[in-house]
């Protein structure tokens, strides 16, 4: 379910690092919790983003949520297709519905993120808490 070459945050974002570029999106768990996504507010290309800080918002029929950046850097690209088809976030959150690409300034930060196994364990606890 959760790609093993991705890294994950406790706020339910994922990042896939390729050289000095990180591709960032929200997890399947996040999209499922949000419900139908209707709007994404992106940062502007060229803007500096910091690990753990907000870089935009995602709005669903249920709520508006902040998007937190897994790694620091500069926004290199945004997935502007999502402006017209935000529902893709519900359909393919780990693939076509990536949100932004960041030119990483400190790739070492990745050490603080969870791998797929740790993230799956983390959301399992979350789910248990909710059903308890």
């Amino acid at each position: 379910m959760y790609p093993t070459d991705y890294r994950y945050t406790k706020d339910h974002e994922w990042v896939k690092v390729n050289g000095s570029t990180g591709t960032i999106g929200i997890t399947d768990y996040a999209q499922n919790e949000l419900g139908d996504v209707v709007f994404v507010e992106f940062p502007k290309v060229g803007v500096r983003v910091e690990a753990g800080k907000s870089f935009g918002t995602v709005e669903s029929v249920k709520a508006v949520s902040e998007l937190f950046c897994p790694l620091s850097g500069e926004v290199a690209e945004i997935n502007s297709q999502l402006s017209d088809t935000p529902e893709k976030i519900n359909q393919d959150p780990h693939g076509a519905a990536w949100l932004i690409r960041v030119k990483l300034s400190n790739p070492n930060e990745i050490a603080s993120l969870m791998d797929a196994k740790a993230y799956e364990a983390y959301i399992a606890t979350k789910t248990r808490e909710q059903s308890a």
Partner: protein, 448 residues
Amino acid sequence: MRYLPKSPSERQEMLAAIGVQSVEELFESIPEKFRLRETLPLPPALSEPEIIDYFKARAAENAPGYTSFLGAGVYQHHRSVVTDAMVQRGEFLTSYTPYQAEISQGTLTSIFEFQTLMCQLTGQEVANASMYDGSTALTEAVLMAERLTDRRKILVSRAVHPEYRQVLATYAKNLGLEVEEIGFTATGRLDLKAMTREKLAGAAALVVQSPNFFGVLENIGEAAAVAHSEGALLVTTIAEAVSLGIVRPPAEADIVAMEGQSFGIAPSYGGPFVGVIATRDKFVRQMPGRLAGQTTDAAGRRGFVLTLAAREQHIRREKATSNICTNEALFALVATVHLCLLGKEGLREMAQQNIAKAQFALAELEKIPGVRRAFSGPVFNEFVVQFPRSVKLINAALMRERIIGPLAIGTHYPELTKRGLVCVTETMPRTEIEHFAASLRRILEAPV
């Protein structure tokens, strides 16, 4: 909200229920030195007959029997008694924000109607319901342009209402916006030649008003083309909404910020009024203010709800588009009822009467030696005239004849002394215009 007084025994019962002896005990956590011991410096309570006498005396201070030629942002227009009867209905008068669509279809429908009317009049795709007034609507429109363009420089025509510009300056000062003013020409219109590439570079918005403070209609199409040439948005503000009954709507503008007072709202003491922002559909998420949307209920029936609330403060707190978390719903309803009563033809006829009477007044005034029109641009119901002497002196003499004369605009424009802004609406009888012209002639013939 009702005020329900309590009897001493009821108070005792309530105190007993929460386990305290006296009301005083409830304040024990506040240190003694901070407690107010003396009585508030207020006049003593009045009995009902006394309070009625008091208000009769205040009402007698009004000045009936005067003819006013003041406009400049607040206009005397015909108002139907039907409007007052409608808005005083308890269902509208006492209802709170219609968050709960299940019990608020009446209010939501009226809000949706208001938005529809505002879109039709302004030539825009989406309108909110509503802002406090025209000046704050303009500032919110400018802030919207800042968010949309991510630029900080704002170009504002000096022919925009000086008080609107003051409100904008107050916000700008604390938000780090750089406001630059653009002059006007002999026509009274925006000086397009001053809009050089350097001026425009990096500008979020160009702000114009039409009809502008001098009553002159701006060329919105030209202003939009100039603004767009360097990526700035055109913000158009309208202080005299009745002009939309006949003037081409500012469809080329990216954001329209309007004062709705002219739509059936009494001038009162300068407020409360109702502001409106209308814009293009693609900018809706950066628009502040309440928005009702059309939807269908579980049974497929047409209904209305508050929508896109993620823009608003009660959902997004400091990330909302604006600190405005309220609106002028009752005044928006006044405007809606008023416009529906007038209808399309009624509004056009009202606007036509404004033009005709203003033109008649202008012609009458221009017959007086030394009085001439100050700007050559086309006007709606207001125009600036140049007098051979101080407007304030003239007005003092006019006041003795129970005429409230033109606004001395030299107060706001040091280079425009001896110029007065005259407003003539459909409510002004021809005989009063003639009386005004005759009085003015007599005053100017007398030595200073």
